[in-house]
């Protein structure tokens, strides 16, 4: 046994001894992840005095466990009531909610938990093993390459628009326009703000998420007595349904593996994040599926892809933090502050000077995922009860607790009204056949796309050909092109096969 293996084993034992912190933190993370506005980052900020009072290892274990469980918790309301807890879970209801409406909420939760835990665990191990290589990904991804990554996410709009292309594109591009509100990144010129100072920083994401998904959904569900489509679908919760979901997920283990790796690679890129990863993973999953027509109707693979990917992001964001000292997201940035308070200096020297901290973060993540599957899976039978609460009680609860969540991040009353405005927009969109997810994708990715686009143009003095100036960028363009063209070719092949016409 060499030194590193011995060290890893020692770190594993030490981290496992903090189970009494990890288990309650998992439940806390599930709650904060499930309520829009209460991200893991906000909770760590709120509980920072507690974190600082803990030992270095205790604080580290607490933050990592909260980070992982909040990511998983965001998927629970997304599946049960069509309300993603965070933007990272915005692709989860596309197939999770239809399953819940069909009375398969318990199976959907189990699929989501298994995909999240296996995806998170696997990418943690890969990140630990391939850290030096992964850390270089951040160096190679410049603005031009990032534009292609964004376009991978935006191409999901085209998938969503498959049923009515024109309406899907209107929803997606309206989202992109809304995402452009705010000052421009170079000269800070206010654009489309209606004179509101609160919009100078752009449209805040949480009110958009709350309005488009939660408020509009609450106004829709009151048409029915219960969320499940037929009252006959309300089944008694049983272990059988839980294991059925586990079985469905495990049978698609390869799907979990490759979609979580998409999450890991995107997570390594600073600023990319879980929302892009889950959209890209969903889009790629649909593109290369043998049954793309089932996506959006409650297809397990459409649920596995975003959940595995957004949990793959959790380990990915730690890589630039530990190796380069660059936080990959908001939570990683807060972790950086807390750990620096404890005297930890990040960067290449971390694994030489304080290897236990570096390895300890990944070990805490791995142990959290293992403990999570055993603590959360049994709860899925009780959680699925949400779909059987009469909507006359559920709708007002959804509105009150999510609207106030829109207030929390910035403490502006304006954000409450903004969420209500997005709620009205979402309601009109749902009633008239426009997809709210397409609008949200635009709101999330619009400002990022513009930022990278402008950086590229500034770098090249306005020459648009800069987008095709790097080898990595060109490879990504080719991948994007293939991911758009190949599904059409596969679909044509399937159609010909089903018609018995030989392919020439």
């Amino acid at each position: 046994m060499d030194n590193t293996t011995a060290l890893l084993f020692e770190v594993f034992l030490e981290t496992a001894s903090f189970w009494y912190i990890i288990v309650p933190t998992i439940f806390l993370g599930l709650i904060v992840g499930g309520i829009p506005g209460f991200s893991a980052a906000n909770t760590i900020i709120i509980l920072m005095p507690l974190t600082l009072a803990m030992s270095l290892q205790g604080g580290l274990v607490f933050m990592v466990a909260l980070y992982c469980s909040a990511r998983m918790g965001a998927g629970i309301p997304a599946i049960l009531v069509n309300i993603p807890g965070t933007a990272g879970a915005a692709a989860t209801p596309l197939d999770g909610y239809p399953m819940a409406k069909q009375g398969k909420g318990q199976q959907a939760l189990s699929i989501s938990f298994v995909a999240s835990c296996i995806g998170g665990l696997l990418t943690t191990i890969i990140a630990l093993a391939a850290m030096p290589i992964l850390a270089r990904v951040g160096f190679y991804m410049h603005s031009t390459e990032m534009i292609v990554v964004m376009l991978f996410g935006i191409s999901l709009i085209a998938s969503i628009a498959a049923q009515d292309m024109v309406k899907g594109l209107i929803a997606g591009f309206l989202g992109l326009m809304i995402g452009s509100i705010g000052t421009d990144v170079v000269y800070a010129t206010p654009r489309g703000t209606f004179g509101f100072l609160e919009l100078y920083d752009g449209v805040p994401l949480i009110p958009a998420l709350v309005g488009l998904f939660a408020v509009s959904e609450a106004f829709i569900i009151i048409e029915k007595k219960l969320i499940v489509t037929h009252e006959g679908d309300v089944r008694k919760p049983s272990w059988h349904a839980t294991f059925e979901g586990v079985n469905i997920a495990l049978k698609r283990w390869w799907h979990i593996v490759w979609t979580s790796i998409i999450g890991l690679v995107i997570g390594v890129i600073p600023g990319a994040g879980a929302s892009i990863a889950s959209f890209v993973a969903y889009q790629q999953s649909r593109s290369f599926s043998k049954t793309p027509e089932l996506y959006g109707t409650g297809h397990p693979e459409g649920l596995i892809a975003p959940e595995a990917a957004n949990n793959g992001v959790t380990s990915g964001t730690l890589v630039p933090l530990l190796v380069l000292g660059i936080p990959g997201g908001a939570t990683a940035a807060i972790m950086l502050v807390v750990l620096q308070y404890h005297g930890v200096s990040f960067g290449p020297s971390l694994f030489e000077n304080q290897p236990k901290v570096g390895y300890g973060m990944f070990m805490a993540m791995a142990i959290s995922y293992v403990l999570m599957i055993f603590t959360i899976l049994p709860l899925s039978r009780y959680m699925s009860h949400v779909t059987t609460i009469p909507t006359i009680y559920l709708a007002p609860m959804i509105i009150s607790f999510t609207l106030v969540g829109a207030f929390v991040p910035r403490e502006y009353m304006f954000d409450l009204y903004l969420a209500l405005g997005f709620g009205v927009l979402g309601y009109i969109a749902r009633r008239t056949g426009y997809h709210v997810a397409a609008i949200l994708i635009g709101v999330i990715l619009g400002p990022l796309l513009e930022k990278y686009f402008l950086w590229s143009l500034k770098k090249s003095d306005g020459d648009i050909m800069v987008l095709f100036s790097s080898n990595l960028g060109n490879i990504l363009w080719l991948c994007l092109l293939l991911s758009l063209v190949l599904p059409a070719i596969f679909a044509l092949q399937r159609k010909r096969k089903s018609q018995g016409i030989p392919i020439q």
């Binding site: 408020v215 106030v404 009353m413």
Partner: protein, 170 residues
């Protein structure tokens, strides 16, 4: 595309609301960047131009459908009598009230009032006792978890201030 003779016609008036909003917003957006530096314009003109183009395609499609009698300019998919019967309009009114009052009354009291009134509206006045009880429990649970335990930045009113003073003085 042909419709069966007895099939209901598409309510295209409702479907035009989002494109109309999109066109109006895009034109307003363009007006705000008309004299701005090119860095503020380039992306917005590109995205807005595509949006206007797609909306134009949709308008042409709607015109063709209207001409062939496949749809009407009705808003039946957006507003119906069901909105009054189901309590949707009442729920919307209480939601606006919630946004207005929460700044003055604080989270707990406003949540209690909102939950109880909206549930009364949706249940058409049935189960008044149960609704009052469940509204009180939810509002107090929200206060206990988010304000008392985690000190979250929820809007505060006299209830929160009073409870803080009571708890601080034992």
């Amino acid at each position: 595309m042909t419709l069966k003779p007895d099939a209901p016609k598409r309510q295209l008036g409702g479907e035009l609301v989002i494109p109309a909003l999109a066109i109006a917003f895009t034109l307003y957006f363009f007006s705000t960047i008309w004299n701005s530096p090119w860095t503020a314009q380039v992306s917005a003109f590109l995205v807005g131009g595509i949006l206007l183009f797609v909306c134009a395609i949709f308008l042409v499609r709607v015109a063709l459908m209207l001409r062939s009698g496949q749809g009407t300019l009705g808003f039946g998919n957006l507003f119906t009598r069901e909105d009054i019967r189901s309590g949707r309009i009442g729920l919307f009114a209480t939601t606006i009230g919630y946004c207005v009052l929460i700044d003055r009354l604080g989270f707990t009291l406003t949540t209690f009032l909102f939950l109880s009134i909206s549930m009364y509206v949706l249940s058409k006045g049935r189960n008044v006792g149960f609704i009052t009880l469940i509204s009180a429990i939810m509002a107090l649970a929200g206060w206990a978890v988010f304000i008392w335990a985690f000190d979250t930045r929820f809007p505060r009113g006299w209830f929160e201030t009073t409870m803080k003073a009571v708890l601080a003085n034992g």
